[in-house]
Subunit: 515 residues, 2 copies
Amino acid sequence: MASSRRQTLTLRRVAIDTFRENVAYLHRDCALYRAEGFQALAKVEISGRGRRILAVLNVVDDPQIIAPAELGLSAQAFDQLGLAEGRPVRIAHAEPPTSLAAVHRKIAGEVLRHDELAALARDIVDNRYSKMEMAAFLVACSDNGLTREEVLSLTRAMVETGERLDWGEPLVADKHCIGGIPGNRTSMLVVPIVAAHGMLIPKTSSRAITSPAGTADTMELLARVELSPKRLHEIVRRHRGCLAWGGTARLAPVDDILISVERPLSMDSRGQMVASILSKKVAAGSTHLLIDIPMGPTAKVRTMREAVALRKLFEFVGDRLGLHVEVIITDGSQPIGRGIGPWFEVRDVMQVLHNDPDAPQDLRQKALRLAGRVIEFDPDIRGGQGYTVARDILDSGRALAKMQAIIQAQGPSQSEVEPGRLRRVVKAERAGYVVAIDNLRMAQIARMAGAPMDKGAGVDLHRKLGERVKKGDALYTIHADFRSDFRFAVDLAERDNGFRLGSEPPAQVDDGLVY
Amino acid sequence: MASSRRQTLTLRRVAIDTFRENVAYLHRDCALYRAEGFQALAKVEISGRGRRILAVLNVVDDPQIIAPAELGLSAQAFDQLGLAEGRPVRIAHAEPPTSLAAVHRKIAGEVLRHDELAALARDIVDNRYSKMEMAAFLVACSDNGLTREEVLSLTRAMVETGERLDWGEPLVADKHCIGGIPGNRTSMLVVPIVAAHGMLIPKTSSRAITSPAGTADTMELLARVELSPKRLHEIVRRHRGCLAWGGTARLAPVDDILISVERPLSMDSRGQMVASILSKKVAAGSTHLLIDIPMGPTAKVRTMREAVALRKLFEFVGDRLGLHVEVIITDGSQPIGRGIGPWFEVRDVMQVLHNDPDAPQDLRQKALRLAGRVIEFDPDIRGGQGYTVARDILDSGRALAKMQAIIQAQGPSQSEVEPGRLRRVVKAERAGYVVAIDNLRMAQIARMAGAPMDKGAGVDLHRKLGERVKKGDALYTIHADFRSDFRFAVDLAERDNGFRLGSEPPAQVDDGLVY
């Protein structure tokens, strides 16, 4: 055999961001490897100096992008391999991940054991799965594809393949909403209220993937959210709470990878959702968790039967993992508050914290009810008294003071954001009552307008469910900064503005009601 | 609004071959579109001059690859859009394909109607599906996920979304093997025998995707296989047969797209397979079709029960489409012939055509039996006489003469291929009988050695099932041309050489037996 040195290519970084899919670039005229031979395969393995990653192969015909003696890696793949440009690397056919056999068994309807799901989670976190393969797994798990024992195993496997935080206290509270309701920014109220009560609530949130704002995107308008685990601990120990981005600690990383496939597929499998939420919470060191399941005709959960089945699944898995889980089912029939998009949601939250009489009452009521339930995790609080405790904290200004302390501790934001300058007022086409507001549509319009990347983009609601309107009354205003985004959002609203008007008021209008 | 001209980017071709996934490249600092806003989405829509395509978006940070005012398209995407470089193009958020709702219904276990499957096939052929979304559909259809009526609808929809050939004759024969058996190059014998009998057999074949050789890859060693539909018609009319690549006519293009996802996933769903094969044959204008289902421990079909269920599904769909289908179940316990890989398979085929006494008898017998059954589609041939007719044609040299005529007509190949110069003889580690040869392993070794891209790469078998060997006897030789390929193949054979030796001869050894 020739010396192995002759079989290497020179590593080069290709400045292409391929969004959670590693791509390797090989010139078609590479003298060492037959580019076409690799291409039909799901993955190739790139290695050098004892390090290895898996990637999809693209064949390049332009030596400007990659020369025949070079091997290019997309930005993320290059970082993952962790070698400098110019280093020698080699390519090999990647064996399909061993755990793919379990995926095929799952597709065939079989029940997987914990060790199989654990091996699968390890292969996913090692980046051995292509997006197609993950899609196959997710579909096989969808609907009733996972038994509750499998959901438990998957949750455990997702926790085990990442880091875990330990706060060194017996009661670490958290709250989580399953999502789907625009403007539902209750965490930014619950955290300061609960922390002001003295209970530990180190809230780490995600950024939005396909929704117009995540708590991290919104909080970022006020303070830094990317904090080192060390800094996070200091802040939480001092202030009893934080509102940070969860991405700096590698908590249940498998979940982030699966979500990047699940979201574009619009797949929302119950088992997957429970595993995703609970694995993140257990990894984040929570001991007591309140889950909010909004229910409504355009919410993720549309009937009480579904809501109860989901509640029981959360309880089953939570109990087995030693996590105290309480689930409440809330009104998900319309957006919460008035703003959709980071700037508008911050405005709503700050109005509530300032006890502004114009503050959206549904957001205030919902936040108080949730905070009250979290406060009742405190053994010293009598059942049913949490709401009153929470209201006292909010009304007295202690919640606002706590929020300001958290902002100072995390580092106040310097950026001056204004609502998007491009504006379109969407008006009622007839007189009547607002009988329905489509959550999905409103989220989509705000997203198209540029939220959450553009902090000032989004939707400002002027009317809510049950209100009476005259023809031509403003229903909401779309705000954007980029002309192309503005056009996309306005086009969408022109096709269907998400509001349904009727001649009679809707049967029942809730004000942040908790069922 | 600003004039729409201001919202365009300049089209540029990016010389990257992304293998059946359209990719668009946008600079991160593009002033018109927020690159990150698009990225989590499954697809974006690129349009210009009334043409539009869908693509996945990659964000670029290197102006050498794409400048901020440009929009790049990968090689295939650029061809699909069909506009010249420098033209103005625009980007929009692609709506998820409408038919994705049907995929979600299928995932939930519902049965789809013909119109839903037809809409799905149109969306796939219009490239509206991402690979992830197709993987979701394929998984939902896997195993018993499709009823036989759905398989029929899907087959029809796949035919309707492509071109159809019409040969203007009442009997157009074809044969097809479901695959999985290396060296099984019977088409190159059946076609000349059947055409020499005078029956029309215009065989269009695929290239190998994940196997070491397709009939098109192998025939290419002897003659041109990429023929225009017009030229194909002339040849077939004159010679009654051809051995061409099917890709020049757009026959059931949905099938090619689904296969590009299915193969790397190693998904072989029965319904999908039947729809794939029959849609191609109906589109190719066949009226009578013989299907070969090899059965064996390492074949695609492993039990007689599976084989019979598959046979019935072929018959059901074939009958409804007015295609006369006959199915035979053959011995799939080991590779057919001696060679695996284009050069070696051509050698085996030519030995049989020349009535060489050294010709592999299993390949000769199997080809004669299949040709005999096809010839019996002729109403003038008495049932059971096909084999004798076929044998007479082969023995008399008329099959060879017909093959030579077809080669001349298609255009003889000029390239001189030799068996790969890098060789490794794999030897018996003990004395005994060959009791098993793993089809999958042998195919994988030949594929790694470079087949079918390197025509001289592959495996030459020296021993077959039931033969007695001494320790150190040569079992097979691996041939390769590229050092890296050679290394991959040898490594694979060293880990498991695919042969199992035992002390007793295997219970029953077939010689190309047809059950």
